[in-house]
Amino acid sequence: MTEQPITFDAQDFPRRSRRAFLKNSGVLLGTLWAGSSALMALAPSRSWALEMSTLDEATGRNLLSFCRRIFPHDTLDDAVYALVVKDLDAAAAKSAEVKQMLADGSAALDKAAGGAWLKLTPAAQDKIVAGLAGSPLFKKVHGTAVVSLYNNELAFAHFGYEGNAFNHGGGYLLRGFNDLKWLPDPTPAASPAPFTGA
């Protein structure tokens, strides 16, 4: 059996393409954290790069950090949050209005921080984020991230979700669907043995 080839933007690792950089656009560069071992198994290399088509680097960095405060996962690598920025950049490329709103939003973050958003501690950032809930910037980043951040193989590996069973060895019948050992097994009447014949 085959599956329909549906691919998601957010499913690839953020990496630099050979395309010439577009004018006025930025690049986010990073290195996978030493603790991100689950991701390293999937990534082609430790260093990653997100080449944006529309947003500049400062905006990209601020948005990534803003997103970290909306959906905080202290041990989740920036490379995964970069996939959200990638989708925000794509939305900005499609709509001048979104592009402006994100650029203004990023500038507003700096302003609220009294200079540089990125220099604030997470606790100080959290206070500002709480005040922004419901704003167009918050809604856009939240609405994008709630899908993009959690719908990619890197996030799956990080959070311990095994994703597409069909592509990864088939059903769990022989791969641990009932391997939980910290509670007693149900009676066979409540939960009969599986059929494993041909």
């Binding site: 311990g160 979700y161 769990y172 149900p186």
Partner: protein, 521 residues
């Protein structure tokens, strides 16, 4: 495949190929009756199903514009997605989990049993369990429901183990229940491989869906013409008020008109009343078959909610069957609990992408992050209980918004009844205690998702003035027009609805065939 002429007025036209329509089509074809089955969606197969929540949602779901109103939280979080149902051959039986439970006897006459409930528009079904029993048995056989017809139960997965142990601590009984999922090969289909993507279309075909059971069986009779990507816009009638044709937009967006001897509507409980309302005419100014004024009213969605709990140890709840686990101890009617009716607990899991979307829609911040940090340590269950029919819970045509065909979009209005709220609170409390009894660190009460169970908008009634159709699903006003899906529900009961929808379709097919032979239709 057979094809029928648009002018052929001897065919039965069925609108929608899901649980109701797909079953009815097969049952009629088996009796030699000519059927044109019109389905708005495309045809997929186990080979084209995708083990990916968002991609499968895009492939199978009904995403035409709809609007919402009322105080239910869905109206705020998912204003254009009141229901999570499908537009594809097989309808929502591609998405469904397979839980297949019979009604309890008393659930057919709750008006009599519960008495007056302020704000509720209760009515007794014009049917009894006894009348339905032989048809339930046929439906269970057809669908391969576990623990019926000598079919063994399914094996419980990790999520079930947590559920089961909690149930025991609470003094409840739990089992892997009655599921329309092959626990061993049956009826030419294989057994469950525990993919855990039951909501995304079963890639092994173990779970019953009309897509690969009823519909191919009907095609084999040479009596079925299935027309896919055909959206029905209107049902027409002759001067005497008998339905005589349906008008639809085909794949290419061309308007077509198919003549019909009988018309059966099975578009699920939002599209079915919408279509009747869109078919208003001089003779039927308030909508077809709507002399009672009840078309679109009494929309029910079950009182639902989910509870997820995190544990120190790992669970991996997403491995294996999405819903094979049930507790029925709270399903009885026991007013001592402070509400009428009852509810079931059923195991449930969502993958990481849907957990993020549904755990607390609009949620963010530290608590939200922490819940997902514990995803691999999470177990979950779903509450499904009876909700009260209310006249004001209702599908109407939007005054200005149009869909891609230029047809008024449906608006779905819903407010919880006080009884619904009391039932849900009780269920949340019991579920929390259940998970805490096996060591839950944190328990999350998750609000209802967009409606998966949609019921009641063309209800059955003994008297024409109280409802839209009679005990056969035949509309009171238009004798050759039938309601063939969950819209027929008079009241919702505590059980998942599909087994009963299929049961009613089998019974309706018998009635239509007899009436056609007697030249009464």
């Amino acid at each position: 495949m057979v094809t029928y002429a648009h002018q052929d007025d001897s065919v039965v036209v069925i609108i929608g190929s899901g649980a109701g329509g797909g079953t009815l089509a097969n049952e009629l074809c088996q009796k030699g009756i000519k059927v044109v089955l019109l389905e708005a969606g495309k045809r997929q197969s186990p080979a084209t199903f995708i083990n990916d929540e968002w991609a499968a949602f895009g492939q199978l779901s009904w995403t035409d514009k709809r609007t919402t109103s009322g105080s239910w939280r869905v109206a705020k979080d998912f204003p254009n997605l009141p229901a999570w149902i499908c537009k594809t051959v097989g309808g929502t039986t591609t998405h469904w989990a397979g839980a297949s439970l019979r009604f309890q006897e008393h659930e057919f006459h709750v008006k009599t049993l519960y008495g007056e409930m302020a704000g509720a528009n209760l009515l007794d079904w014009p049917l009894t369990l006894k009348e339905l029993e032989p048809y339930y048995a046929r439906a269970e056989d057809k669908m391969g429901v576990t623990r019926t017809h000598d079919i063994p139960g399914l094996p419980g997965n990790n999520n079930f183990k947590v559920f089961y142990n909690g149930a025991r601590k609470m003094g409840y009984g739990a089992s892997t229940g009655h599921m329309a999922i092959n626990s061993q090969p049956r009826a030419g289909r294989g057994s469950c491989q525990q993919y855990g993507f039951c909501f995304q279309g079963c890639k092994s075909g173990a779970k019953w869906s009309t897509l690969y059971t009823e519909i191919p069986a009907a095609e084999q009779t040479g009596k079925l013409e299935l027309r896919t990507e055909c959206h029905v816009a209107r049902i027409e009638h002759d001067a005497k008020g008998r339905a005589n044709a349906v008008v639809y937009f085909d794949k290419d967006g061309k308007s077509r008109r198919q003549k019909a001897q009988v018309v059966c509507v099975a578009g699920n409980s939002i599209e079915t009343p919408r279509l009747l309302l869109l078919s208003a005419s001089n003779l039927f100014p308030d909508g077809l078959a709507n002399s009672s004024g009840q078309v679109g009213k009494n929309y029910m969605r079950h009182t639902t909610g989910s509870v997820y709990a995190t544990f120190k140890e790992e669970v991996h709840m997403y491995r294996g069957t999405t819903m094979a686990g049930i507790i029925q101890d709270e399903a009885e009617h026991n007013p001592k609990r402070g509400f009428a009716g009852g509810y079931e607990f059923e195991t449930l899991s969502l993958g990481l992408p849907f957990m993020a979307a549904f755990l607390n829609p609009g949620g963010w911040g530290k608590d939200f992050g922490e819940a997902l940090d514990n995803y691999a340590h999470m177990a979950g269950l779903w509450i499904v209980g009876e909700d009260m029919p209310q006249e004001s819970n209702r599908v109407t045509l939007h005054a200005t918004e149009k869909d891609q065909w230029g047809l008024a979009v449906p608006n779905v209005h819903y407010d919880d009844h006080a009884n619904d709220i009391a039932l849900r609170q009780h269920a949340y409390k019991q579920a929390k205690a259940l998970y805490e009894s096996v060591g839950a660190k944190k328990v999350y009460e998750v609000p209802p998702y967009p409606s998966t169970h949609n019921l009641g908008t063309c209800r059955m009634s003994a008297k024409a003035r109280d409802g839209v159709c009679n005990k056969w699903g035949q509309t009171h006003d238009v004798p050759n027009l039938f309601i063939s899906d969950g819209s027929q529900y008079t009241t919702g009961a505590a059980e998942n609805p599909t087994l009963t929808i299929v049961t009613l379709a089998i019974r309706q097919a018998e009635y239509i065939a007899k009436q056609m032979t007697a030249r009464a239709l």
